[in-house]
């Protein structure tokens, strides 16, 4: 496991370096002048040059990049947003990511619960109406874009059950749950569908194994057979997919956050692009890249833990 871990960590570094170069390069070349934002449009050109020098913004690209990355790596300092009047980029990202993280975790929990349950029921009664219904819902979940599903939830579900349709209230755990339930349903629909289909296929294969037949022959009830012998053995690919998807949900909730006006990181970065907030764009995209790559790494390590053959893969 040690050499595998080391190899994966070594792959992690160049990916992040490449991402950081691309992100920094894009923000470096973005139109807009931070010094003008700081000093105002009527500032004296010489005073602006002095300020530019003081902030190191007149140095060559590679020097600015190294200085930026030095601060990021050594101090976790992502700089300040000039467009937001000196607010810290790290502080802003963490504030917004807290919402995105809660949304992604709730969406994952809901989709695992619904997707696995639907998959198990389908596998227990293949080609029955339960199976057809599950397949149909899975098809809808896969096909329906999040904004469309969001509007259906607005129009039909929210008024009926008294849930809010926009924003995030963090007063208590209950109000947080209420704010996030509809967005989590919309965000998790695709994953629910994928998990339902995956669980069904894996369970069908597992339930046809000899050891399951043996368990049944020993007189075990249907549910213990399905849950203990079937689901436990079918769990490995499910866990892998859930882990990989969680990374995707953490960085890919932009549409859901926009439709439900949730103050998450994805929506914040989209707004930052519209507002030409280059420091926030660079910091936010870099942060998302780290999260995504880390999640993938964790999934790979988990997979290797479950299945030793993966570690031998050269």
């Amino acid at each position: 496991m040690g050499p595998y871990l080391l190899r994966r960590l070594l792959q992690f570094v160049p990916v992040l370096l490449l991402v950081s170069v691309i992100v920094f390069s894009l923000s470096y070349h973005m139109p807009g002048d931070p010094v003008r934002l700081l000093m105002g449009q009527n500032a004296d050109p010489m005073a602006m040059e002095a300020k530019r020098h003081e902030l190191g913004l007149d140095r060559p690209f590679h020097e600015q990049y190294l200085s930026y990355m030095g601060k990021v790596v050594l101090q976790a300092d992502l700089g300040i947003s000039y467009a937001k009047k000196g607010k810290g980029v790290r502080e802003l990202i963490l504030e917004k990511f807290a919402v995105t993280l809660r949304l992604a975790v709730l969406a994952t929990l809901l989709s695992v619960a619904a997707g696995v349950a639907a998959g198990v029921l389908s596998a227990m009664r293949p080609y029955s109406w339960v199976d057809y219904l599950s397949i149909l819902l899975a098809l809808l979940g896969v096909s329906m874009p999040v904004f469309f599903l969001g509007f259906l939830l607005f129009a039909f579900v929210a008024p009926a059950v008294g849930l809010p349709v926009s924003g995030f209230e963090d007063a208590s755990l209950w109000t947080q749950f209420r704010s996030l339930l509809l967005p989590a349903l919309a965000l998790g629909a695709l994953e629910t569908a994928l998990l339902a289909r995956l669980t069904r296929a894996t369970m069908l294969e597992t339930l046809s194994q000899d050891y399951v037949r043996t368990a049944r022959a020993k007189g075990l009830g249907e549910w213990p057979v399905v849950l203990k012998h079937g689901l436990r053995n079918a769990a490995i690919p499910i866990v892998t997919v859930v882990g990989a998807n969680l990374g995707g949900l953490l960085v890919g909730a932009v549409l859901t956050e926009s439709v439900f006006a949730l103050p998450g990181l994805g929506r914040e970065i989209v707004q930052a692009i519209a507002q030409r907030d280059r420091e926030l764009i660079a910091g936010g995209v870099l942060f998302m890249a780290v999260i995504f790559v880390t999640m993938n790494l964790l999934v790979d390590l988990t997979y290797a833990w479950f299945d030793p053959r993966v570690r031998l893969d050269r």
């Binding site: 937001k84 000196g86 607010k87 504030e95 149909l136 809808l140 809010p164 349709v165 439900f260 519209a274």
Partner: protein, 585 residues
């Protein structure tokens, strides 16, 4: 394979349910008056307003957008302000300023005992400090104090400072005692008190600004009825009542601005009882008017103008690279200068006039904008002093447009290259652009639509790259000067207001004459003359004057809209008189 009912049976129920639900949702608008399910539970004492964007900056001298302006309006005060009829009334000043016989010296007597939100009493020194901030390099509204003696010198002296620290004094602002401010102008400017009613001229406490530096733009404070207690970017701003407000505490306990970019989400949040005031969604006004929430709709005419500007510095190029004049400035196409002949400038004007005649404004206002706009004959909106109801303007006349096009040398549009047509993608701009594109095509003028986000669009306009572009102007103060002088004088070319970059000595002369005239009757006549000249030269396609269409919950009382309120920001509404009572479901 043949499908039997049995093989598809399990799918039928959910499919039918889904189809039924969609049919119900979509069909309701066409089969009779729409019925919206709505929640009417209020949060007593709290006004929740849905706004479209995060305010970029709340420092009064740095702000230039209506969202920031509306928030600052609640937190700060100015020496004078506008009442609901847009008359100038005293605010922090005890009365309207005394003016010296030569019209150069304004004396403001301040109210006694006005408290800042930090507890300190406001004095004349705070007024001087706040007005001098308008000459600092960060200020976006230097022109407010520009008429004051010594303002330009102070601005130049401060240009080398990072944020105007130390602040250079403006010689014309004096404080003979703690409750008197005397302001001396370089030359007569009858509108100067109106300039001081703009929120950019808000009075703030020096110690707060100096302690916070650029963060003052995020933690602004003043003497107003509400104070900022929370600002979560792109999410919400929460204001709480300031009990020490000099006119007595507001009736509302709190004002919450919720930032919701998506129009449909805002509307659903309103219906779901999460918001009390929003701008009515475009394309739905007619449906709402006839529905069960029709009585919540308030359509309020605004002092504004929506227009499409021609960049007067640009020319088009034909297939062989030949010059096709569109802008009419003598010197065109910066970077690739072309000196237009008199005949080319005449042809350019004919082309711009043809485009004006080809646009069916009635259709835009009634069909597309559902009656929330009136066609523009010129620049000044109805209700503005000097508005000329007799101005002919450009009525829809495709035959005339074709004739002018032919006279300009492009019969049926032959020889005329495609015109790049820029706009930002907020509603209703894309719909309006598509309609105008089709109207122009009918007379032979081809355009290429270019849609951009607002940030990129602003930069594109500021750099003078747009050829034919959408823009709007909402009054800062109710005077023709704010439209005609700001938007067309060559001195304001570019981002100062004259985005069409219109440079015409005769026009400048007419505008300056009108601006410096004190006699109201003569002044009005001169503004009309200047407007007629501008309409004749057609540096814009003059489109329409908009109205704000708001949805306001019935339990919100005391909200008096003015002609300077745009969108849900309702920046001129006096919120101290507004109440939110307990509503019922």
């Amino acid at each position: 394979m043949r499908l039997s009912v049995g093989s598809v049976g399990p799918f039928l129920l959910p499919v039918a349910l889904a189809a039924g639900a969609l049919w119900l949702g979509w069909g309701s608008g066409d089969t009779g008056p729409a019925v919206f399910v709505q929640d009417l539970r209020a949060e007593p004492g709290v006004l929740r307003i849905g706004i479209t964007s995060n305010p970029p900056n709340l420092d009064p001298v740095e702000m230039s957008d209506t969202t920031s302006d509306s928030v600052v309006e609640r937190i700060c005060n100015t020496l004078v302000s506008f009442d609901e009829h847009l008359r100038l009334v005293p605010s922090l000043a005890e009365s309207i300023p005394e003016v010296s016989p030569d019209g150069l010296v304004y004396t403001f007597r301040l109210r006694r005992g006005v408290k800042f939100q930090n507890g300190r009493t406001m004095e004349a020194g705070d007024v001087r400090y706040s007005l001098q901030r308008l000459a600092e390099p960060i200020s976006k509204r230097f022109w407010i104090v520009e008429p004051v003696r010594g303002a330009t010198a102070a601005r130049d002296a401060m240009a080398r400072n990072s944020r105007g620290d130390p602040q250079a004094p403006i010689a014309g602002i004096e404080t003979p005692d703690p409750l008197t401010v005397r302001i001396t102008l370089e030359k007569v400017q009858p509108l100067f008190p109106m300039f001081l009613a703009m929120n950019n001229a808000s009075i703030v406490a020096r110690e707060e600004v100096q302690a916070l530096g650029q963060r003052f733009g995020r933690q602004v404070s003043g003497t107003g009825p509400f104070r900022l207690v929370e600002w979560k970017d792109n999410d919400r701003l929460v204001l709480e009542r300031f009990d020490g407000y000099f006119e007595g505490p507001a009736k509302l306990r709190s004002v919450v601005y919720r930032v919701i970019t998506e129009e449909e989400t805002r509307f659903q949040s309103y219906l779901n009882g999460e918001l009390d005031v929003i701008e009515a969604p475009y394309g739905n006004v007619r449906r709402i008017r006839g529905s069960n929430i029709g009585d919540q709709l308030r359509v309020n005419p605004m002092l504004d103008i929506r227009y499409h500007g021609f960049n007067m510095e640009r020319v088009l190029r034909g297939p062989g690279g030949e010059v096709v004049p569109l802008g009419g400035n003598p010197e065109s196409s910066p970077g690739e200068p072309v000196r237009l002949t008199g005949d080319q400038r005449r042809r350019a004007r004919l082309l711009r006039q043809a485009i004006n005649y080809a646009i069916d404004r009635e259709f835009l206002c009634t069909a597309l904008l559902e009656g929330r706009a009136v066609p523009a004959k010129g620049v000044l909106p109805p209700g503005m002093e000097a508005y000329d109801p007799g101005l002919a303007g450009y009525r829809y006349d495709p035959a005339r447009a074709k004739a002018l096009l032919a006279e300009a040398g492009y019969p049926e549009g032959r020889g005329l290259p495609e015109i790049p047509y820029n706009f930002n993608f907020q509603p209703p701009n894309p719909t309006v652009a598509q309609a105008i594109q089709s109207m122009l095509l009918r007379v032979g003028v081809r355009t290429r639509l270019r849609q951009m986000d607002w940030g990129a669009y602003q930069t594109y306009l500021d750099e003078g790259k747009a050829t034919f572009f959408r823009l709007a102007w909402i009054a800062d103060y109710p005077d023709p000067e704010n439209f005609l002088y700001v938007l067309f004088h060559s001195k304001n070319k570019g981002q100062e207001g004259n985005n069409a970059r219109f440079v015409d000595p005769e026009n400048d002369r007419l505008l300056e004459e009108a601006r410096s005239t004190v006699d109201p009757v003569e002044r009005k006549a001169r503004w009309r003359r200047a407007e007629a000249y501008i309409v004749e030269q057609a540096p814009w396609a003059f489109l329409y004057h908009n109205a704000t269409a708001l949805l306001i919950k019935p339990y919100v009382k005391g909200m008096v809209l003015t002609a300077m309120d745009s969108g849900a920001e309702i920046q001129q509404v006096d919120l101290t008189k507004v109440t939110v009572e307990a509503g019922a479901r």
